[in-house]
């Protein structure tokens, strides 16, 4: 059963100027949650901005759900002004979430705020894995490294601009890691350009990769057909599937990226 209503903000952390975390009470009616699923947030009670804002689960347990939000535009800006004790309207859980299971060795590849749902996978998922490694990429200063450090065997961090980290994108370390040939599942979330690259790299090596994708959404429930991406199937040689319903997780082998 989905939940649509207000929840109270129990905790708030500011990770960076433009990144914050909320812990909200988990509504009792929500029976199951899966890492990679998301909730749709009513950014403001005034009705503006008009559309809900999708935010991934970055941690959950029986009592609480955590969200990690990057302030980009009006919606997330308004949200950032809410304080502990305030209520916020949420709708979810939505989307398919990550496929979990038993693996030999797992590699996590996250970029920017895309690390949020990956944190959720590591902290609240039920992966059965011998070893998990992780590559995180940031444009500027990294955040949430502690959380990942705790959950993985090896953590590699790259940044385009911040000092003290390997310079560049996740793709360099990714190729190096994959060349070892030990990984049997990759999980990735980040900007579209990164996901496209990750998919390509994994597909070439025939390593299964779960991509958590992002597209502008209107309804979030599968009704408006506004959030489609292309997958390889169907009568036309491709199919438009809904990120909010059939996704946001797709396997690298099934997605067709825009040129």
């Amino acid at each position: 059963m989905g939940f649509l209503g207000k929840v109270k903000i129990l905790e708030k952390k500011v990770l960076q100027d433009d990144v914050f975390q909320w812990i909200v009470e988990r509504p009792e009616t929500i029976e199951t949650l899966k890492p990679g699923q998301f909730f749709n947030f009513t950014a403001s009670s005034t009705g503006y901005p008009l559309l809900k804002r999708p935010i991934s689960i970055s941690y959950f347990d029986e009592k609480q759900i955590e969200f990690t939000v990057k302030v980009l535009g009006t919606g997330t800006e308004v949200m950032s002004h809410l304080a502990v004790g305030d209520e916020v309207e949420i709708m979810g859980p939505l989307g398919n979430g990550f496929d979990q299971g038993s693996f030999h060795r797992v590699l996590i590849v996250g970029g920017g705020i895309g690390i949020a749902p990956l944190k959720g996978l590591l902290e609240s998922g039920n992966l059965s894995v011998e070893q998990t490694d992780c590559i995180l990429g940031f444009r500027d200063a990294p955040y949430l490294l502690d959380a990942f450090q705790k959950c993985v065997a090896h953590l590699e961090v790259v940044s385009e601009n911040a000092e003290g980290y390997r310079k560049g994108f996740v793709t360099g370390p990714l190729e190096e890691h994959l060349n070892s040939g030990v990984y049997d599942m990759i999980y990735s979330c980040g900007p579209e350009a990164m996901l496209k690259q990750v998919a390509k790299t994994c597909n070439e090596r025939k390593v299964p990769v779960q991509l958590l994708m992002e597209e502008k959404m209107a309804c979030g429930v599968g009704a408006c057909l506004g959030c489609t991406c292309k997958t390889k199937s169907g009568d036309f040689g491709f199919k438009h599937v809904r990120m909010c319903k059939e996704g946001p997780m797709f396997y690298g082998s099934e997605v067709i990226f825009d040129a």
Partner: protein, 312 residues
Amino acid sequence: MPKQDFSTSTQPDMCVDLNGLTLKNPITVASGTYGFGREYAEWIDLNILSAISVKGLTLEPREGNEGRRIVETPMGMLNSVGLQNPGVHYFIENEIPFLRSYDLKIIANINGNTIEEYCQMAELLSDADVDSIELNISCPNVKNGGLAFGTNPAVVQDVVKRVRKASKKHLIVKLSPNVTDIKEIARIVEAEGADCISLINTLSGMGIDIYKRKPFLKRGNGGLSGPAVKPIAVRMVYDVHSAVKIPILGMGGISTGEDAVEFMLAGASAIAIGTANFANPLAPKKVLEGLTQYLKQYHYDAAKKLTGDLRI
């Protein structure tokens, strides 16, 4: 509104009649915003709705437009879905039975590339278990250089005349707002035998991604909907109401009971909720409650008495 309690007043008669299509209340949902009802069934009791206009149907299945399909704009949105739908045959076989498990009327929204396609769909649906056909003449007319059917009076006349002949079902014609004179089009639609007019469809708009320096939507243009367009929609409903006698199903930015009242006062007999469903899946419930409260407060014993009831 003053916060008074009207729960003890007698319940007004919410039933309205769209010239043969009887609705248990004036609240319907707009085509393309509600799929075939399935997705929202988890979030709201579909029995609240008096009717659903289903996702725009085409003769053959369509995958719709590529690339980004949605752009948010100030209190509105642009869409360029491109009529992704499983086709009219699939709809008849698989979606009608599902919808029939609810107490609501089914309006089949049809879209053709040619007049022949419109007629074929209307014929197919004549024998199907739908309550009404909504002729969407806002789609680009492939035979006519891509300009919408609905903007050329002569073409409007032709398509309505022939679809009217092709089917005995209750026929709604949905008007495009992208015209100089909506009354002229409405009069033609009435003269050619439509039972009801719905309006407005989306306004033609564009958004440009200034960082990528191209339109957000692959086709450039998209359809603007949501609260931003409400004043335009109200004006058009008012104009059409003054021009024709057949009932109007009004839409365009409705998200509250007050909005519904506004459209009905302007001349709508019933209203449809579109974009507001995205912002609030409980919008139909909220609108129905708000409308009912208004009727009680202003002592209307029947919703239908609100239609066009302006003090001017």
